[in-house]
């Protein structure tokens, strides 16, 4: 495409603030995502304290929550608000924008061999809309009646009628505004990623030579483009119901002593629209993490990713199936049981490509030469959590079984292990691995090890016991469990979970410290510190606008020729070196890798 990116003068504003350079935008997404992540984790620690020690006075609660924690005891209203905003922030702001936004932006042009994204301007807008939506979401915490509190799923009528709960007033309005702007940000980004990947690959970079990260980001962007607009429509109809007297979701309501005039709508319409995005959304979250894992495991095993084509096929299968499973969130809504059966069928099918991916990762490790960088540890951890969390999905996806575990802690355990562990591990792994490309330095390895081990152990410690709580019948989103004697024996488990949560939360300080310290005090990175094959390691260490000085390299092979023997089997393809960058032409007598 156009090669004139290197020629305009950059001011402080155009370089650091309204930058159109994908690398700077990646960093903006990352740091904003991290800040939102800190807020989200803090919230979770607050409500976990309430769950472990209900009714106990905590002065820090009163300090942080003011009127919402009179006498140091959290009020039920703010509990639900914390749970709601925690979910919203983590799902959208951290794991979607923070994960996709960072790595799609950083890696797509670098790994496909492009000077920048198709439209630097739209890319810049994509970040600033994300920033704006983050500001609005955080602002909603400070309104008089509190932020949205109907769960991150904000089902109407609870979210539609301000008198139904405190948070459904201005808090809910701001939530909807924030999310509408967030969706715009996401769509702008996704369109850019798709256009760039299709149109701007360098010479020789056919689709089947692309690293799996790019395949993952590509398919994720398509998922986003097809599903986020439906959430936007759900939100718009909700805004209409809230402010313009319509009845899309409302009918036969008597709330707070008042008979409402709405007739003819159904809350189930909202659920369909919401989950039509909601389910692909979780794959939008996990696919980039899986792509990143393929890259990191392969590079650090000094072996090709096992089953490259099968990995692509499974990404496509997961993406396709993700559109036809949303009803598994709605088995108990009163939806037709036959429809429920259809969704059970499709949901259990999606386990198959997921299993293929897990087995392929493990086979990549087999007979490898494993380099245990912190990124590699997190990637191995991801495989463990993906399997552990994934199998309980089979229970929940079975409509009959969902009857007794729906909306219990069994669900909370399941989705946290796959999102709160697997996806965030992918994000951590990506940060450790591509830090040299982000900040031209290296993060501290020992701190990385400490971060990994404490996080891994605590993370399982928090979420694994939740399956037992769910099978004991404990519902989610309960402010306190003391009203039901049958749950008294679960109190110890809740304390254990909270203990691990607090410890795990503190462990993240190690990461934050490492991250920010290394920007200025970390060891300077070399050009290709992990001895990778992909194109991003052929750019100079110092960032430059346009990525490569001179011509963009031509690609002659796929991305996974690690430890490839030469044609005579006497040495590696490049003697004495166990990797062959994509830019290396095929040697005499060499066959292509796949």
């Amino acid at each position: 495409m156009s090669d004139d990116h290197g020629h305009h003068k950059e001011t402080f504003i155009t370089k650091y603030i309204f930058s159109q350079d994908h690398k700077m935008i990646a960093k903006q997404f990352l740091v904003t995502g991290m800040i939102m992540g800190v807020i989200g984790v803090l919230m979770s620690i607050l409500f976990r304290m309430q769950l472990a020690w209900p009714g106990e006075k905590f002065p820090i609660l009163e300090l942080l929550l003011g009127k919402w924690a009179p006498d140091g005891v959290m009020s039920p209203d703010i509990y639900l608000a914390l749970v709601t905003i925690h979910g919203t922030i983590m799902v959208f702001f951290v794991l979607t924008a923070g994960l996709s936004g960072t790595f799609s932006n950083l890696l797509i042009p670098l790994q496909i061999g492009a000077r920048d994204m198709a439209s630097g301007f739209l890319n810049m807008l994509s970040y600033w809309f994300f920033f704006l939506s983050s500001v609005i979401m955080v602002a909603s915490l400070f309104v008089e009646n509190g932020p949205a509190a109907a769960g991150w799923t904000i089902y109407p009528p609870l979210s539609a009628v301000p008198s139904a709960m405190k948070g459904s007033g201005m808090g809910m309005t701001l939530w909807l505004v924030s999310m509408a702007i967030f969706i715009i940000s996401s769509l702008l980004g996704s369109l850019n990623y798709i256009a760039t990947i299709i149109n701007m690959r360098t010479k020789g970079m056919s689709m089947t030579r692309l690293p799996l990260t790019i395949w993952a980001f590509f398919v994720t962007a398509i998922l986003g483009v097809l599903s986020f607009p439906v959430l936007l429509s759900a939100a718009l109809l909700l805004i209409f119901d809230r402010s313009m007297g319509t009845s899309f979701y409302l009918s036969d309501l008597f709330i707070n002593g008042e008979l409402l005039q709405n007739q003819g709508g159904s809350p189930i319409l909202f659920e369909h629209l919401f989950w039509f995005l909601g389910h692909p959304e979780v794959y939008i979250i996990i696919l980039p993490a899986l792509g990143i894992t393929s890259e990191i495991i392969s590079t650090n095993s000094r072996k090709p990713i096992f089953g490259y084509r099968a990995m692509i096929a499974s990404i496509l299968a997961i993406a396709f199936l993700s559109f036809i499973v949303w009803g598994h969130h709605m088995f108990l809504t009163g939806m037709s049981p036959f429809l429920g059966s259809v969704f059970t069928f499709t949901t259990l099918l999606i386990a198959i490509p997921s299993a293929v991916k897990a087995f392929n990762y493990i086979t990549t490790l087999w007979k490898g030469n494993l380099q245990m960088t912190p990124a590699m540890l997190f990637s191995i951890g991801l495989v463990s959590t993906f399997v552990t969390g994934g199998v309980t999905g089979l229970i929940l996806g079975d409509s009959a079984l969902d009857i007794n575990v729906h909306d219990t802690y069994f669900v909370v355990g399941h989705f946290h292990i796959v999102m709160g562990l697997s996806a965030i591990f992918g994000m951590f792994a990506g940060v450790y691995h591509w830090y040299p490309k982000l900040y031209m330095r290296r993060m501290n390895k020992s701190m990385g090890y400490v971060h990994f081990w404490v996080t891994f152990i605590c993370a399982y410690g928090v979420f694994f016991p939740m399956h037992f709580l769910g099978l004991a019948g404990l519902p989610r989103r309960y402010y306190s469990n003391v009203e039901f004697p049958m749950f008294d024996t679960l109190a110890d488990i809740n304390v254990l979970i909270t203990g691990f949560a607090i410890l795990g939360g503190i462990a993240q300080l190690v990461f934050l410290f490492n991250f920010f310290y290394s920007i200025w005090g970390g060891r300077k990175a070399t050009q290709n510190p992990w001895k990778g094959n992909t194109l991003e390691w052929t750019t100079p260490v110092e960032h430059m606008h346009g990525n490569w000085p001179g011509e963009i390299p031509t690609v002659h092979r796929w991305a996974y020729d690690y430890s490839k023997p030469n044609a005579d089997d006497t040495d590696y393809v490049i003697p004495g070196q166990d990797y062959v960058p994509q830019t290396t032409p095929l040697a005499h007598g060499e066959e292509a890798g796949h």
């Binding site: 809350p267 399997v387 019948g473």
Partner: protein, 341 residues
Amino acid sequence: MTGLIIAIVAILAILVVLQVMRVTSLSSDLQDGKDNEVSSKDNDTQGTLLLLFGIGFMIAFVWMLIAWGDVLLPKAASEHGGDYDSLMSISMWMCIAVFVLVNPVLFYFAFKYRGLKGTKATYYEHNNKLELIWTTVPAVVLAVLIIYGLTTWSNITNPDNTDNEPMIVELYAQQFNWTARYSGEDNTLGYANVALIEGANFLGVDLNDERAKDDFIVKELYLPKGKPVKFRFRSQDIIHSAYMPHFRAQMNCVPGLITEFQFTPTVTTSEMRSDKYVMKQVKNVNDIRLVKGKEVWEFDYVLLCNKICGSAHYNMQMPIKVVEQAEYDQWVAKQSQLAQN
């Protein structure tokens, strides 16, 4: 003063950490030179830790099963509940099998193939036969689970009522309590709608409807053992969910429509109270309650709200009693009397 001391300690701690970071960074430089990001010693240590974690994880899992096995719900108290529990059992064991087979392999490989000095990787990029195996085996296992699950689902949601007409009971949900309306002799509920709510008629029953004449309203559910009951759920305000975990029953209550769920209770409250597993659970609960100075608990079935509905969502409950037919008939007679007066 405390604040100042905490601040000084925090700053010193940060300085310590900074120095430790610089030392570790320099020392790993010395070990393997500046080129290597990780040394073979790192790989050895981390690989070994991963193996130890894998072993520890499995041990922890077994420990959890033993320690927390008795907090799980007792045996099902409904007819379909037995099918539910069998399906759950088989599905869980399948999940556990995958969990205990795949995780150890993962951590073992991470250990066995850790990059020691001289380790070389094998270039092995695909094997279609292997892919086929681990695509078809899960597919077959899942197909079995799907068929089994869907049959169970169909039996639960579409029960055969040809010989046994279910008793109709309305469960009315509102922020933040439950009300039950029995349909009486005619087994038909009178028409009701929130538009008709007025004063004492807080359910909005159409009092002129013939079918409503024998309806009676209670705040505690009584169910006869062995008789199918079909619940019709209504909500006054927002989405709630009627969760009756002992019966393996749950259904959302959605304003604007009526949802249904049918089951047949098979264990009376007193039978449940004499069940060994339940007795152990009750004892564990009461041991805790004694320490906290709370009153003793006797097992009761319970209806909980299980869909976020506002501030008191965590305490929206109604007791359920399952009794023998005779006791049930007596109770009905008394309630009907009260309704007439």
